[in-house]
């Protein structure tokens, strides 16, 4: 199977999943007692039943369930997520302003994870069962086990309050591309990236240790290649494949982590908005962010699959 056909096939297989994601999102909120209109009516008791019916029609909340679903999906497909109930702002506009903040945080977390985990993973595999390996395994296990919100609080406690290296809150919100923002990204970025770093470290160690026992490594060594070149050029490349297979899972973890970490650090991204919207019952925003999360994870999965197929052509024939 050519790479192009493989990618096409994978994209086609996403269609039922995308449909499922939209059904779950719609279904969860449709089951919620009290739709947006009854909330509005509760805020304003002067609304007559006729007006309520009119409102319902305007919001696409009248008629049978499948009709409501179709209205919602066709609106979403053209980028219309409805309005915020209290202020009437467009939800798509809110998402557009919040999304870059979350992307910056997630990217920082990913870069942090890779920079920390790949060298440590190599080190642990090369020094397998020695002291350095034991220590780094213990650290990796801690990284998986530590709750990210507590890690964030502890980092604030140590680095902001006791050492005074970082402001607890950014003094003023500068635009995201301002170089100073990088400094404020460090603590939340580390918090969000730690779990991913720990997982990658564990996978790197296991897969590298496995690769090191293979015959091509013996061949490369027998050829007289320096150990450094054997590891960095031959073994590393093969063990990175297993990191790619993990990438989609870790991205989902980072997306979920952003909700918690943004609350800890008052970072005005999608996750922060999500919790606010849940507390204020802004259903349109919650639905939009839920849908976005699902689509994003699906696309991350697709990207990981494609990279995997490029790196390891055997997978295309499965």
């Amino acid at each position: 199977m050519s790479l192009r056909r493989f990618i096409l096939k994978r994209i086609l297989s996403l269609i039922p999943i995308m449909f499922g994601v939209s059904v779950i999102t719609f279904g969860l909120f449709h089951l919620t007692p009290g739709d947006p209109v009854s909330q509005l009516v509760a805020l304003n008791p002067d609304v007559s039943p006729a007006e309520e019916e009119q409102l319902r029609r305007r919001w696409g909340l009248s008629g049978p369930v499948w009709e409501q679903y179709l209205t919602w999906v066709s609106n979403v497909l053209v980028g219309d997520f409805g309005q915020e109930l209290r202020t009437g702002r467009e939800v798509s506009g809110i998402i557009a302003t919040r999304l870059p903040e979350t992307i910056a945080l997630g990217l920082f977390g990913w870069v942090f994870a890779l920079v920390i985990a790949i060298p440590t993973g190599i080190y642990a595999a090369v020094k397998k069962d020695q002291l350095g390996d034991t220590v780094s395994r213990f650290i990796a296990l801690s990284g998986i086990s530590i709750p990210n919100f507590w890690l964030g609080l502890m980092l604030i406690l140590i680095f902001s309050l006791y050492l005074g290296l970082f402001p607890v809150l950014a003094p003023s919100r500068l635009p995201l591309y301002h170089p100073e923002m990088l400094w404020y990204l460090i603590l939340p970025g580390i918090t969000i990236g730690t779990a991913a770093a720990a997982s990658i470290m564990r996978v790197m160690r296991t897969s590298m240790a496995e690769e090191l026992n293979k015959e091509y490594v013996t061949a490369a060594r027998a050829k007289g290649l320096p150990e450094r070149q054997v590891i960095l050029k031959h073994v590393l490349r093969n063990s990175l494949i297993s990191v790619v297979t993990l990438a989609a899972t870790l991205t989902a973890g980072i997306v979920a982590g952003s909700v918690v970490v943004e609350v800890v650090f008052n970072w005005p991204g999608l996750g922060y908005e999500f919790i606010n919207a849940i507390n204020q019952r802004e259903i349109n925003i919650v639905m939009a962010i839920t849908l976005f999360t699902g689509l994003f994870v699906i696309l991350a999965n697709l990207a990981a699959d494609i990279i995997y197929a490029i790196l390891d052509p055997r997978i295309r024939y499965d």
């Binding site: 039922p16 999943i17 499922g20 994601v21 059904v23 779950i24 969860l28 909120f29 089951l31 919620t32 296990l141 801690s142 998986i144 086990s145 530590i146 709750p147 990210n148 919100f149 507590w150 609080l153 502890m154 604030i156 406690l157 309050l161 006791y162 607890v168 997982s199 564990r202 996978v203 296991t206 897969s207 297993s242 993990l246 899972t249 989902a252 973890g253 997306v255 979920a256 909700v259 918690v260 609350v263 800890v264 999500f274 919790i275 849940i278 507390n279 919650v286 839920t290 999360t293 699902g294 689509l295 994870v297 699906i298 999965n301």
Partner: protein, 350 residues
Amino acid sequence: MTEQRNTHSDRGRIRVTGFDADRVREREPISDWTDEAGDEAVGRWHRGLQRFVRNRSAMGAVVIVVLMSLAAIFARPIEMFGFVIQPLALAPYEPTTILYLQDPTISTYDPPSWDHPMGVDGSGRDLYSRVLVGGRYSISIGFIVVGLTASFGLIYGAISGYYGGNVDEVMMRIVDTIFAFPGLILALIIVAILGGGYWQLVLAFSLFGWAGYGRLVRGEVLKIKESEYVLAAKALGARDLSVVFRHIAPNAMPPLIVLASLNIGTVVIGVAALGFLGLGMDPGTAEWGTMLDETRETLIQGPDGRIPWWATVYPGGAIFLFVMSMNMIGDGINDALDAQQTGVGRGGEE
């Protein structure tokens, strides 16, 4: 071998020629061989248990988990339907007792002292008592959720893998769809819909949490389905249900158990995260995550400019210690059962 044994009583028995354990009359006295030991086959579970017991870090983690669970149970007396079923009290105070009402010398955010080993929290309650009692919620929810989801996932995956074809296709697309949402996000939404509370949290993590087990078991079943003992069972006329649950499911257990043991920690963190976001148990409940939420505002500015670190360090440390121990146990089980071939222990799905 000069004389032939009576073949009728040993029909079908595999014999190794050249050495016959039955004929050795004299043995080294230091070998602990007995007549029974020669006949006994060591099962996979037995061997796994032996290996697990030899794993020192995993056994240490078991001790911690057991101690923390016992501490949660015996922290305060438990009363059910008017009967006291557990009279012991390891914690000196009720988790809701406001200390300065009884003893005016105590104020909010008193640092750790002899009487209050973990200090006093922002509402004047004894943190040590609260941390001990706090385990009741997270730990029990963790075990209940994993029990429910693993059982359902086992059935789901077994059916999907065994029947294959269109059934499998549809069932796995459902799992793929659930996998598109991070578990914490789904739990958040369910709690947002249902409101907080103990059984709501159980439901929030169970409703979609089985998908991972389903996918894992299905993969195992696909492998096992091709094996000869399944073919033999079918050839002998076993019905589908009996093949799935007597032959396939038990052999798919080791990776399932590894995943389950690792997931208990994930659920405990998830419950605490919802509590921290203010969506878990009712505010004021002595649940680890909820406790962290209550001190978050005052972490930055305590009374007199002091930083009340104990109110953050101890509840969070309790979560960390428990989850870390659970993960060590999971790793230990993984090593002991040789489940690593399935990739479960390497941090996720296959």
